[in-house]
Amino acid sequence: MNEEKTSASGKVVGVLLFVLGFAGALVLGYLVFPNLLYSQKLQPLNFSHAAHRDNDCDSCHKFRPDGTYAGIPKISNCKECHESAQGNTEAERILVEEYVAKDREVPWMVYARQPDNVFFSHAPHKGKGVECVTCHRDVTKEEKLPPMREDRITGYSMTTMEMTECEKCHSAKGVSNNCEVCHK
């Protein structure tokens, strides 16, 4: 412990070390950490929204009579056109061979999937005129499905809407923010 001797250079080294630690932490926190936290998964097959542009959104993404939203269509919906292959892409082959032919549902991963404790109904949002793209990505020109990025700890999709976002819009529009409006 001979502090007096090393004090001058020690200070410089100390500041340097501090800056190094500080910068290292920033790099770790902002660049490395997100990549560690989120996994990247590919959908079972590619779906090109752009290729389906001539259809209405509603012809696949529909409301059920009880007011609930069906979300991603079932294989029966795909089957209406894709009973047999419509082209020779790999995705087409997978769809027809693996799912249509075997009458299995495609295990799509939902980018906006909310956890079990959330009650979300599309009906009031649509009823109040909220556009799809307010919350979802614009898919009209999308050729390739983006990879699914899932939080390894929580299992949430990176693009799942967070509660604060819901609350912001609700309060801006004067809609109730009471817990049970969105939780079940």
């Binding site: 630690g21 910068a23 932490a25 920033l26 950490f33 609930t68 956890p115 700890i153 929580t154």
Partner: protein, 787 residues
């Protein structure tokens, strides 16, 4: 050190710690070991509940059509009007029960050894069963027997058809309260039907121990009746007569506490006062009742009539008071009230849905209602009408013809009964103690006699003598566990079934229970197993059972209704009790196919009530002197023909066994073929069960005399067996009487169901009714001491 400080400072500025803290909380909100129910489209599928005989309309909620999540009442059904009971509300816990039998099993070790069950294919199971039946048939088909449920279902008729064609008389049903009603109806009216009560339209209800709200045979209907009685304006007065301050007693306006089993004495006492005071429907009695006055039989012999019997000194209010434990003044007051109330109805029961009553007592209640004129057309008592389903008739070959010479095994022994009925007890007794002929194969369908038959050791003793025991149970219950083969049926919600009438209901009722979901496991409809076996056996057995599927069989049965153009389908809510006997009900279906389609969609068929007819009796009147009893009678005493108070003495002496044990049923405990569900376990109060210990109810007075305190560990010993329990001291119990709930004490199933308390059936004594030969249960002599 500086590096660390910098790193800490820097880290705090990045999202890392905050995101991790948030994520750990979010992680705790979505733990992977917490089940996440699959989402999807929710649909409703209507059906009819067949878990008990009540016939309620239900609807199931399904997710994506393949996962049932809820059973609700069907508002379109007139019986339950959208409601459900606790059992139906938890019905899915049977469907998804861990203790279901997942595929056919064959016992390869000792009976009862769970590890000895070997999975076999349906092919093998059916082949082995057919082969056995074929072998036995050559040696004498009457040595095959079956015990089936007491529900009213076409399955009963299919079994009967099979047994008739096969050639065995030994088909038995689990005991039911309706057995005695059937006997009484047979004796007094000559009809093979049961009495029906117009509960909804009664203006005054005098209930002799009927457990209307404590788990009766048709709980929904009783609940609906209670709702109507408790209306705001001019509510219906309810008087409950029994020994325990039960739920029904508490809901009643007046509770008359009596000694257990003495209800009929009180009814005789009321009749005594009505007759002596000439306060009865003399017109009806004079014109429609035989045996009220003294009568002469076909041999010209004179006999005493009911009038002279009931007005004798044996049934004075003082005598009745002595028997029942009531005050004479109470008896008088009650008699006056009952006689003077218009639309007064006397209902009765043994306090339990699953055991027969004493026939003479049954007759006493019929007589009391007859005095009130309730059995006249348009009266409050009718006969349960039958849906005109297509009749079955078996073709017989030489084997079945020959074996029909053989008497039913219970009759072989108890041939002294003048009016023999469903003699399961006689049968079991005969099998275990030197039968006239052996039983080589016993099948058990929709029944669990090893557990829920009072004095269940009789079944165990009989089963020991039977080389092959086959169970069709969907569940690994006590009986299935003891079987050599288990050929699991679909669970009730996975199969076609039907409901033919509702116990005690005056209106005609028929409903088809369609499956709500595809079978989950490798199970098979027992009806279809019978069809398959019959076709393998070939010949007349096969031609008697020509159907390929159970649905086809039901279609065939429904054709009968369509042919008769009878009744109508209820497609909008109606007040079914407002239909009177003889009211026209216009059919609203085009043909059999249309009718079946509607029934399959969960709608029910109904028809107007039918009045009591007396044209089938010898006298052409309501026979209070039941001449048919005389046929096999050993006694020449006139009283044997007449309704009278004739308690069957429990065995043991009062000095040795100073207490009486009475079992009771609770709507929160399933006590029949179906065990309790985990949901229902939650409903069991802590005054009934603590851990695995059952509570026996006793009066504070009884407890004081025995030196027992609340919650004490006790030993109960009856003439039939003994068990450890805890004491629950409650003023609901009559002094000197112990009460034990039924349906507890299962030994099979899983950790959620098994090992909870004591099975009442192992402690209760059964006595054979001298008229019908059926087992009756009311009280068993017992001792209780603190341990």
């Amino acid at each position: 050190m500086q590096f660390a400080a910098g790193a800490v400072g820097g880290t705090l500025l990045t999202p890392l710690p905050w995101k991790l803290a948030d994520d750990s909380a979010v992680w705790s909100q979505n733990w992977s070991w917490r089940p996440s129910p699959e989402r999807g489209e929710i649909t409703k599928v209507p059906s009819v509940c067949t878990l008990c005989a009540g016939g309620c309309g239900i609807q199931a909620r399904l997710v994506n059509g393949n996962r049932a999540i809820l059973i609700e009442g069907n508002p379109a059904n007139p019986v339950n009007e959208g409601s459900v009971c606790a059992l139906a509300a938890s019905a899915l816990q049977f469907l998804y029960a861990p203790y279901r039998v997942t595929q056919p099993l064959k016992q390869t070790k000792k009976r009862g050894d769970k590890t000895g069950f070997q999975a076999i294919s349906w092919e093998q199971a059916q082949t082995e069963l057919s082969k056995k039946l074929e072998e036995i048939r050559g040696e004498g088909p009457h040595t095959v027997a079956c015990i089936t449920s007491s529900r009213r279902s076409s399955m009963d008729d299919l079994w009967a058809q099979f047994f008739n064609a096969y050639g065995s008389p030994n088909l038995f049903k689990m005991p039911s309260e309706c057995d005695a009603s059937k006997s009484a109806a047979q004796l007094t009216t000559g009809n093979s039907s049961t009495f029906a009560f117009d509960l909804e339209n009664a203006g005054y209800v005098l209930s002799f121990g009927a457990n209307l709200l404590d788990g009766c045979a048709a709980p929904s209907r009783a609940s609906g009746a209670l709702r109507r009685w408790k209306k705001d304006r001019y509510p219906v007065k309810i008087v409950q007569v029994e020994s325990r301050a039960s739920i029904t007693a508490s809901k009643a306006d007046v509770f008359l506490p009596i000694n257990p089993g003495t209800e009929a004495a009180l009814a005789m006492g009321i009749a005594h006062l009505m007759v002596n005071g000439a306060n009865y429907d003399a017109y009806f009695v004079k014109n429609n009742v035989f045996g009220f006055e003294d009568w002469t039989d076909s041999n010209g012999k004179k006999h005493q009539g009911f009038k002279s019997l009931v007005s004798s000194s044996a049934y004075t209010p003082e005598q009745v008071a002595k028997i029942t434990g009531l005050e004479p003044a109470k008896v008088r007051e009650l008699a006056k009230e009952f006689a003077s109330q218009p639309k007064a109805l006397a209902v009765w029961g043994t306090g339990r849905a699953d055991v027969s009553n004493n026939t003479y007592h049954e007759l006493v209640f019929v007589a009391l209602n007859a005095l009130k004129g309730n059995l006249k057309p348009g009266g409050l008592i009718g006969l349960a009408p039958k849906a005109p389903l297509s009749e079955l008739s078996a073709q017989k070959d030489i084997l079945s013809e020959n074996s029909s010479q053989q008497p039913r095994l219970d009759l072989a022994k108890s041939q002294n009964c003048p009016c023999p009925q469903n003699g399961l007890y006689g049968f079991l007794d005969a099998v275990s103690s030197g039968p006239k002929y052996p039983i080589k194969l016993l099948m058990v369908h929709e029944a669990n006699p090893a557990h829920c038959l009072p004095e269940n050791k009789l079944f165990a003793a009989a089963a020991e003598k039977v080389p092959t025991l086959v169970s069709f149970s969907s569940f690994m219950d006590e009986t299935a566990l003891q079987s050599d083969y288990i050929l699991p049926d679909h669970m009730a919600l996975e199969r076609f079934d039907d409901v033919i009438g509702i116990p005690g209901a005056p209106y005609g009722y028929y409903a088809v229970s369609a499956p709500i979901i595809k079978p989950l496991l490798d199970t098979k409809h027992t009806g279809e197993v019978l069809m398959k076996v019959a076709s393998t056996l070939g010949g007349t057995v096969a031609s008697s059972i020509p159907w390929k599927s159970y649905e086809d069989f039901l279609k065939f049965r429904v054709e009968g209704i369509a042919k008769a153009k009878a009744g109508a389908v209820i497609d909008k809510p109606i007040e079914i009790s407002s239909i009177k006997a003889g009211d026209p009900v216009t059919s609203n279906y085009s043909d059999a196919a249309d009718l079946f389609k509607k029934l399959k969609a969960g709608l029910c068929w109904h028809d107007a009530p039918s009045a009591v007819t007396f044209d089938k009796t010898t006298s052409g009147k309501l026979e209070l002197a039941c001449q048919s009893i005389g046929k096999n009678a050993q006694s020449s005493d006139d009283v044997i023909y007449l309704p009278h108070f004739a308690p069957l003495k429990p065995s043991g002496s009062e000095s040795e066994w100073p207490l009486l044990l009475v079992s009771y049923s609770s709507p929160r405990v399933s006590c029949g073929y179906l065990a309790n569900t985990p949901f229902m376990n939650k409903l069991i109060p802590d005054s009934m069960l603590a851990g695995d210990e059952l509570f026996i109810d006793l009066n504070p007075q009884t407890a004081a005399s025995l030196g027992i305190a609340q919650g004490d560990q006790v030993k109960i010993k009856t003439t039939q067996g003994e068990a450890g329990a805890k004491a629950n001291i409650t003023p609901a119990a009559r002094p000197g009487v112990l009460y034990i709930p039924r349906g507890m004490g299962h030994k099979a199933y899983d950790e959620y169901i098994g090992n909870k308390g004591v099975n009442a059936c192992q402690l209760m004594e059964v006595q054979l009714d001298p008229v019908s030969g059926m087992g009756t249960v009311w009280a068993t002599r017992a001792q209780l001491r603190r341990v």
